[in-house]
């Protein structure tokens, strides 16, 4: 379970202090498909960064299975990001000079997995997300946006993470491709038993998740739990 308590993140912008995250409390049970929605600048991406340990909060705590990640040191955070979290970004963020296969193998290298296992797992994942044998050996620049996002999803799942954090995963894709990517993410999360937290503008996508948190001015102003309906 992921439990966020009075989480705050302040930024200095010139002479003013911006409260990107301003006292958020939320709880996400395991295995849920959760969406965070809100307008641009509402603080949803800042919240995702804090949940993924990409950024440090100004105050508050983030407990993952009872352990506060805000108190972890650098090495522990590396392990947390590699083992517990899988990221899917809006702009894919694949390493451009590595092939699709090598991109998916990368997180497994950080956990010291044997090369043979890495190759096998990466190939399986890439096939599952719909890339063929020729495409897995291509570099991101020669793949379409949808294919790149598929590779990014495969990379996020590589280390069997407990959580996948997706920041506008369909934001750069056309609606048809976006729908396919969302369904893929959903299906794989069910198969891999992964909790998915997705930040989105798209209310249609949010409507398909188990739970939605609406963020405004760095606070949760509304939450909708569809799993009970």
């Amino acid at each position: 379970m992921l439990k966020v308590t009075d989480l705050k993140r302040q930024f200095q912008s010139g002479d003013t202090i911006v409260n990107a995250v301003n006292g958020i409390d939320l709880t996400i049970p395991d295995g849920q498909f959760v969406s965070i929605i809100g307008q641009s600048g509402s603080g949803k991406t800042s919240l995702l960064s804090l949940l993924g340990a990409l950024d440090k909060p100004s105050s508050g705590s983030i407990e993952v299975d009872g352990r506060d990640i805000t108190k972890m040191n650098g090495g522990e955070l590396n392990q947390y990001r590699a083992k517990t979290i899988g990221f899917v970004f809006q702009s894919y963020n694949l390493v451009p000079n590595l092939t699709a296969l090598e991109n998916v193998m990368l997180p497994m290298e950080f956990l010291g997995k044997p090369k043979r296992d890495r190759i096998e797992r990466a190939k399986n994942l890439l096939h599952e997300v719909g890339l063929n044998d020729g495409e897995v050996l291509r570099k991101p620049g020669s793949l379409s946006g949808g294919q790149q996002q598929r590779v990014a999803i495969a990379r996020a799942l590589a280390n069997h993470p407990k959580y996948i954090l997706a920041d506008e995963p369909t934001g750069n894709l056309d609606s048809q491709t976006g729908k396919k990517i969302f369904n893929l993410l959903h299906d794989l999360s069910l198969k891999e038993k992964t909790t998915i937290i997705v930040v989105t503008h798209d209310l249609a996508i949010a409507g398909k998740t188990n739970k939605s948190f609406r963020i405004k001015d760095g606070r949760v102003v509304n939450s909708t739990d569809r799993s009970k309906t």
Partner: protein, 459 residues
């Protein structure tokens, strides 16, 4: 693929930039290597000059030089004291004599000629060495050098023709020999049909030819070398010395030792050294040494700056990529290692090009440095020696007949040879890798400062 191979692959990510960078690095490394080679060559030459040319002190009886002048001979006892002087490693002693036709059956291979007759006319009255000059026909005397250092021609260069001792046949007698043996110059041996084992007469004594030598010049090849004690005994000049050369352990001690010997021998001897000449040669070489050292340092710094700036530029360009890698779990050390591998790869490729060019260019560059330094050094040595009593004497003494000190200085400087050996190449490679690591260390600092949240930045 691990961080190391990713680093190597990243080095070739942008072909145009890699090419430009490698060429610039190559030029920098090439210059550094050329300067390193030039510096080593000049340092080697300076050491040679210091060790072989400059560590001698010439000692003559006061007023005597060769067979001209006057005064009283030095004694073995005096030179024993010289040999005990601090920093003196050895003393070569010589008793030289000119044997007339009444003292030896040897005939000089040199005909008198115009110069000989002119000289004999001026000195003919002095001791009858030139015998029957009054009749306008005479034979040149045969010069014999009794020495305890028979293969060292510089020990009696005032009577010989200098050059390098090369034994053509036979054996060389021991330094402390008292036997009736001699080494003959190749010309006099040929003139008198003598070979090893033959005998001739000198001072009414039968002398056996122990060996035949050459010196590279006709005057030297016309002389006889015998053991010092033998000549002293046969000529009735026991314990007498007409010249000596003291060898000092280091050129830096020559001035001190010269002063000590002068003090020891007082007015009985003229004591001179080659330090002025050495200083002229070393001074000119040190100019080249300094230029090459500064150029080497400059090239290394330029190389380091190129790598440093390149790596900083690469890190700045890849902030997002570094953020991604951090976001998916990589440690700073792993990313720094990748960038170091990239820097080392770029530098090694540059080093291969640089070393290739450096090896080719080192000799011309060294010669260019030497040439540019030569003219100024010759003029400076000319002026520095103009008022130098001992140095001037040395020059006139050793390099008479057109081979003056200026020619010698110029020759010594010109004879600097750049040698490319394996150790220099290895040194160059190690230095290049060191530069790469230093250059990428700063980049590492910037890498460490990049937050994983960089990945969330929208471009």
């Amino acid at each position: 693929m691990n961080w190391f191979s990713r680093g190597i692959r990243s080095a070739f990510r942008n072909a145009t930039r890699t090419f430009a960078l490698v060429i610039i690095l190559g030029l920098s490394i090439s210059l550094a290597l050329s300067m390193l080679i030039a510096h080593q060559a000049v340092t080697q030459k300076i050491n040679n000059v210091k060790s072989s040319v400059d560590n001698t002190i010439s000692i003559y009886p006061a007023g005597l030089r060769g067979f001209t002048g006057g005064g009283n001979p030095l004694t073995s006892a005096q030179l024993l004291e010289v040999s005990k002087t601090t920093d003196v490693t050895s003393v070569a002693e010589t008793l030289s004599d000119r044997m007339t036709s009444s003292e030896t059956n040897l005939q000089s291979p040199i005909s008198a000629g115009v110069l000989g007759r002119r000289f004999a006319r001026k000195v003919g009255g002095l001791g009858g060495v030139f015998g029957n000059y009054g009749g306008q026909s005479f034979t040149l005397p045969v010069i014999v050098n009794g020495t305890n250092d028979p293969t060292n021609l510089s020990a009696f260069s005032h009577t010989g023709g200098g050059g390098t001792f090369t034994l053509q046949s036979g054996t060389v007698f021991n330094s402390n020999s008292n036997a009736n043996v001699a080494l003959l110059g190749s010309s006099i041996a040929s003139k008198n049909n003598l070979k090893v084992g033959s005998t001739f007469t000198a001072y009414s004594t039968t002398i056996t030819v122990a060996g035949i030598f050459s010196t590279g010049n006709r005057f030297g090849d016309s002389q006889v070398i015998m053991p010092l004690q033998t000549v002293q005994r046969l000529t009735g000049q026991t314990n007498q010395i007409t010249s000596a050369v003291a060898y000092v352990n280091s050129v830096s001690n020559v001035a001190t030792v010269t002063a000590a010997i002068k003090k020891e021998l007082g007015s009985a001897a003229d004591v001179t050294n080659s330090i002025a000449q050495a200083q002229s040669i070393v001074s000119a070489l040190q100019n080249i040494q300094t230029i090459s050292l500064y150029s080497l340092i400059g090239a290394v710094i330029v190389g380091a700056i190129i790598i440093l700036m390149t790596m900083i530029m690469i890190v700045r360009e890849r902030r997002r990529e570094i953020g991604v890698i951090k976001a998916i779990g990589s440690s700073n050390i792993r990313i720094v290692g990748q960038f170091m591998a990239e820097a080392v790869t770029l530098t090694l490729v540059g080093a291969i090009i640089g070393i290739t060019f450096g090896v080719i260019a080192s000799k011309p560059i060294t010669q260019m440095l030497v040439s540019s330094s030569n003219s100024s050094s010759s003029s400076s040595s000319r002026s520095s020696l103009a008022g130098s009593g001992s140095g001037g004497n040395f020059a006139a003494h050793h390099f008479s007949g057109g081979h003056g000190i200026f020619t010698r200085v110029k020759h010594d400087i010109s004879s600097v040879h750049a040698v490319v050996n394996f150790s220099i190449v290895v040194d160059g490679l190690v230095a290049a890798i060191f530069i790469a690591l230093i250059g990428s260390a700063v980049a590492a600092y910037f890498i460490a400062k990049i937050r994983p949240a960089e990945v969330m930045r929208v471009e």
